[in-house]
């Protein structure tokens, strides 16, 4: 602060100390323990309990390697879920983007007096439990349920939507995460000034050209943010598949949650969490960089 008041050097840092200690012990330290378990040993005499190696110079990669080989060697039981995860996450994000863009664009350009109501309805799903929303779909999709009845004329009367269909899980992911896509898109599209669009038209562009050469480029950062915000939780998702799919549609998150059933699952879980962290590192870092840039622009 630039006022005439002098603050001791420790004054403002002292406000943050509880938060820093909290994060160090319960956010940074757990990450380190995960490394120590993943690069530690396994006690086979005690149900495969992990034996963490806390000193990095003792780290051995045999346990971790064993997990890694499951992705490409032998029966490669982890390979299919990994590939599925990438396919599901990318198709679900593309659908989220296309549908979400249309909705956000309409809402941002909407001048009706109902705009407030539309906004409330767009935000509402964020405050409805994710599990409840997916549970609601489970009921609708159940064998003999409403969707079978409604879609009977189209030949889906006997389809078991919950038997492990790719499309069910993908649409479930879209349903679950699309509100997170719409909000940043709306915020960005709403900020685009009408005068810019008018300028585009005055310069001779038609509606489509104005969109592709003015609106779309201006919303590009929001598109990337939106994609990151929806893909991050999708990569760790296991409950959508647990409710709407089967083992035929299991994802990476299911590999992790399945380890809970075993007494010695901790070691495998640590290795898998480590792999997942590496996968989401790029989108996460992108998001953090963008947030910092936005803050710098604001300041």
């Amino acid at each position: 602060m630039q006022s005439g008041v002098w603050y001791p050097r420790w004054y403002w840092p002292s406000f943050t100390i509880t938060g820093i200690v909290w994060l160090t012990v319960l956010f940074v330290l757990p990450a380190y323990v995960v490394l120590s378990v993943a690069f530690g040993a396994v006690d086979f005499e005690h149900f495969g309990q992990p034996v963490p190696y806390y000193a990095p110079w003792w780290w051995s990669f045999s346990t971790f390697n064993e997990t890694l080989t499951q992705f490409y060697q032998g029966s490669a039981i982890y390979q299919a879920p990994l590939i599925r995860t990438f396919v599901y996450v990318s198709s679900a994000s593309v659908i989220c983007l296309v549908l979400g863009y249309a909705v956000a664009y309409f809402t941002a350009r909407c001048t009706s007096k109902n705009k407030g109501l539309i906004l409330v309805l767009l935000v509402a799903p964020l405050w409805i439990s994710y599990l409840m929303r997916i549970y609601a779909w489970q009921g609708l999709l159940d064998a003999g349920g409403p969707l079978n009845v409604v879609l009977d004329p189209f030949g889906f009367g006997d389809t078991d939507f919950l038997s492990g269909l790719h499309i069910t899980v993908i649409l479930g992911l879209v349903y679950g995460y699309i509100p997170f896509m719409i909000l940043p898109l709306y915020a960005s599209l709403d900020r685009i000034q009408e005068s810019l669009l008018e300028a585009g038209r005055d310069l001779g562009a038609n509606g489509r050209q104005t969109f592709w050469r003015v609106t779309f480029p201006l919303s590009r950062p929001a598109i990337l943010t939106g994609i990151v915000i929806v893909t991050l939780p999708m990569f760790g998702d296991y409950y959508t598949n647990d409710l709407l799919g089967s083992s035929k549609t299991s994802m990476f998150g299911n590999l992790i949650s399945a380890q809970r059933e075993f007494t010695g699952g901790s070691t495998r879980m640590a290795s898998l969490v480590l792999i997942l962290s590496v996968i989401v590192m790029v989108p996460m870092m992108y998001y953090l960089r963008e947030t910092r840039r936005a803050a710098e622009r604001g300041a």
Binding site: L23, A136, T291
Partner: protein
């Protein structure tokens, strides 16, 4: 000949609609309306079926309060497992708010004024905890508590985990508010003779109160809805929350009792968030749009 003419007339009419910059965006309107229906109707249906008289959640068998109050064992009012889940849910929500919001608010104030490399590192770590997929955090804490630090799974572990995950919400909300306020009010107070501590208590805290209230509402609602962290750190039936009940029942054969439990969650979170928004608006007259967008940023 006349066919060709007709096609041309139709073509120009179509072009007339699409070429008109002031046309009503009927297609987008239809997509938006369809989206809203698609996104909310299933939830409405689930709420309605909590009043079903039968055991099914997909075949309507008449209205009753069986699953809410009437059934002596299987209604959410009387089912001991459901009552314990409700207690656990709200206990965790209240305790998390009580811990996370003060720590987060103080962190936001400090990090707003403290510059330098360590401050940037702390801020980065905080934001990282904001975006990291919940399963990574939940499982890491599970591994921490079962290996290095012995924290009993169940309520203590869940509380620590939820607070860690929620800590960043008040930080982000309060910081956004601090950026819009700027340092001028405090400086004026100190020019008028207030000590730094007084300026914080009497000027800054009232100014950020709406953001703090918003954080309280959002953290509470988020904990009630939380599933991943709570499940990763639970220990048996006594630490199950409503979300876990929905999850485990949905994998067996759910009755409308689960719909009723989900409805309870829905009503509490929506009421709390709406209440938070109203308080926010009361404090920020004339800034409702900014307030709403603050809420939406999260």
């Amino acid at each position: 000949m006349s066919v060709a003419l007709e096609t041309r007339v139709e073509a120009t009419q179509a072009e007339g609609y699409f070429g008109n910059p002031w046309r009503r965006p009927r297609i987008l309107q239809a997509i938006t309306a369809g989206y809203l229906l698609w996104s909310l109707l299933p939830v409405v249906v689930a709420v309605i079926y909590s009043f079903n008289a039968g055991r099914s959640r997909i075949v309507w068998q008449g209205f009753s309060l069986r699953w809410w109050t009437d059934d002596p064992t299987d209604s959410i009012l009387h089912d001991p497992a459901m009552r314990s889940a409700m207690t656990q849910t709200y206990k965790l929500a209240i305790l998390t708010v009580l811990i996370a919001v003060p720590i987060g608010t103080l962190f936001a104030i400090g990090i707003d004024r403290w510059h330098g490399r360590p401050a940037r590192g702390a801020n980065f770590t905080m934001l990282l905890s904001f975006v990291v997929p919940e399963i990574i955090l939940g499982v890491s804490l599970y591994i921490l508590f079962t290996n290095l630090i012995s924290i009993p799974l169940g309520t203590p572990a869940q509380l620590l985990g939820l607070t860690t995950f929620q800590l960043s919400y008040p930080v982000v909300i309060v910081r956004a508010r601090l950026l819009t306020i700027g340092p001028e009010y405090e400086e004026a107070a100190m020019d008028l003779g207030a000590a730094p501590g007084q300026a914080i208590r009497r000027i800054l805290l009232p100014l950020i109160a709406p953001a703090v209230m918003a954080s309280v509402a959002l953290v509470f609602a988020d904990v009630v809805d939380d599933f991943v962290t709570v499940q990763a750190l639970q220990a048996g039936a006594s630490s199950e929350t409503l979300a876990i009940k929905i999850y485990s029942a949905s994998r067996a054969s759910p009755t409308p009792e689960i719909n009723a439990a989900a409805t309870v969650m829905l009503v509490t979170t929506l009421l709390v968030v709406a209440g938070g928004l109203l308080i926010y608006r009361r404090f920020n007259r004339g800034q409702t749009v900014a307030g709403a967008s603050d809420f939406m940023q999260i």
